[in-house]
Symmetry: C2
Subunit: 216 residues, 2 copies
Amino acid sequence: MPKTKPEAGGAADTTPATKQAVYDTAVRLFARNGFAATGMRELSREAGVNLATVNYFYGSKKGLLKAIIEDYFQDIFAVLTENLAGGDPPDVKLRRNIAAVARYFATHTDKLIIALTELPHDDPDITEFKAERFRRISGLLQSGLGDAAAHVPVSVIGPAMVGLAASRFLFLPVLQKALPPGSRGLGGEDYPEMIAELFINGFNGLLAAHPGGKND
Amino acid sequence: MPKTKPEAGGAADTTPATKQAVYDTAVRLFARNGFAATGMRELSREAGVNLATVNYFYGSKKGLLKAIIEDYFQDIFAVLTENLAGGDPPDVKLRRNIAAVARYFATHTDKLIIALTELPHDDPDITEFKAERFRRISGLLQSGLGDAAAHVPVSVIGPAMVGLAASRFLFLPVLQKALPPGSRGLGGEDYPEMIAELFINGFNGLLAAHPGGKND
DNA sequence: CTTTATATTAAACGAACGTTTGTATAAATT
DNA sequence: AATTTATACAAACGTTCGTTTAATATAAAG
């Protein structure tokens, strides 16, 4: 039985500094190296704490991962709750929503990377955890779509929205290395709007919306 | 110096059975567990070979990963080369292309998962490898887009296409667990066409194309 | 002050890691 | 046939892994 002392609430607002340091360091290292490739000794060293401290606060390495992923899902849930509410038409809601999701991803890139790279892996401890939260998100999306959900399956639209909004960030290390140093197109402030337009009206809509050119 | 004997060509058509067994097992296990979380002893046991045999054929664990990712990039390059060629308008080419990419992903899901989950990680040995190949793919996309490339950046469109086409497969373990057992909407034969429509004409285009409903 | 709770630590546990080495066997070449 | 090359193997190397334990330090409560 791991001696988890505080509630495993991730970066709760009353979290002491040490616990927060562990969390922040984990987010950074898990995103950069991947969860499995990040060792606890590396993590504790970079967080400036003793090795056993991580387990004291989070129970286990996996407990730490769960806390991060839980945080991510809560954030996404909040974004969806806020942006899919109301009586606007589905396309208006979806546009608003995917732009907000993309903005969230831009400011919490590391959390996104962790959640997304751990998503396809089959770890019994975590898969059920993920599935349960996905169910709740699907419910939100279903009711947000309204009648349109009968036309296009949530099981396609939900992942498509995430995949699209996340695409740049998945590719970021490669993009930064692959593109010429001068192309600062990666810092575009209108990325969420661009992705939203792509999602709502597709490539053709994006073309029509940018006749003047947005070349990098 | 690792004693790599045969060319690190992945699943080349002249590969002996043992080497192929290692490769196939690696693809399966790396996709399921992730690269770092898959041990060489697990891999060799499931492939039915001795532990040292993996290194004999691929030099190292990372050599094996590189072979798989190289394979993936070659496949994608071939798909793009075939589907972005010719003088069709960009939207026709892109539609054809993303449908073909989604079909490729459907039949090579494990390779996709590996490539995509390793994409955001910062491993010096592999990042440059990935970036170099991404540059070549960007070039293909650039010339395939023609004048349209001046309007919408390849650095957005390229990742967006992959993210969209891959979205279902990233979510697959979660979808399978999260959706009711009766919902066989995951096996839809028209997923590539749906994704293509979403990419070209967006959510609104998809709605217009499916007024009759495609509920799961 | 004493007691309790929380936080931190060094050391250790038991296991696992990827890679290398030397050897045996099979296949190919001379 | 002898020699060389290719394949496969067991054992070992040196290191690292996540977790646990027991002790200690510090803070909070009585």
